[in-house]
Symmetry: C2
Subunit: 130 residues, 2 copies
DNA sequence: TTATCTGCAAACATTTTGCAGCGAG
DNA sequence: CTCGCTGCAAAATGTTTGCAGATAA
């Protein structure tokens, strides 16, 4: 069904080494830096096929980019990203999972998935020149 | 600050008459059908400025379009979107806001903003042919 | 061998922007 | 009268696709 090509394993390997979401373009650049040249179109095609297989999670950012992350079925968690420096902290939402399922059920929805992303300013970025 | 032009009121009037999300392009076409010609760029600019003012909610569809709806509820709230038919329900997260702020503070982050989107399958989409 | 994958560049879709002219205040 | 707003078309952005050649099986 799917051939195991150099490019495809390069993409999946890169994904395995990452914990958070990356855009297709970021993946493309990352692979380029590693010396594993992969065409941008191939990155898109590969990520898309992985997403179709449910091997990665896809998410759309506020500015219209698709971001991908290896599907960590176990140990779901969320991120807290600094708007200033991009630093990220991993967090776990004890109540959020339950809240999502409950709210969904209350509206007659099933198979609930949730996206929770937090952004803020970390200690170092909180007091810039202002 | 903002001038009340024919185009701007055409857009806000159209929004007032709608209950659900529409894309900028749909709004553009709707206005055209009404005979109230408004340039596509103006529709984008107007919707964007309304969004900045918090007068409309913005949401990105799975295929990358931005959709807008008049902000019914005052104050911050979230959405539950059906992956099958796109139907949306407004929800409020009593605990989520507090949880976000608290988690942020625990990591030394300030000025927390959060993105929470829930997707699921609504009652009618739950049992398709698959 | 051969059907699939890849790379490139051109095509696409959505959104943004530059600029001259219009018009609200 | 003055700026901000508008419309148009061109540009930018992110993603998809056609096709010839490479390649896994």
């Amino acid at each position: 069904m799917q051939r195991m090509t150099r490019q495809r394993s390069a993409v999946t390997d890169a994904l395995d080494g990452l914990e958070d979401f990356r855009s297709a373009q970021q993946m493309h650049e990352l692979l380029r830096e590693r010396g594993e040249g992969v065409g941008l179109a191939t990155v898109y095609r590969t990520l898309q096929s992985l997403a179709d297989d449910g091997a990665v999670d896809v998410l759309r950012t506020a500015d219209g980019e698709s971001v991908y992350r290896k599907c960590a079925r176990t140990g779901h968690h969320h991120h807290l990203v600094c708007r200033g420096c991009g630093r990220t902290a991993e967090i776990e939402g004890p109540g959020v999972e339950a809240w999502a399922a409950q709210v969904g059920a209350a509206h007659g929805f099933d198979a609930i998935e949730h996206t929770v992303e937090l952004t803020g300013l970390c200690g170092e970025c909180r007091t810039p020149e202002r």
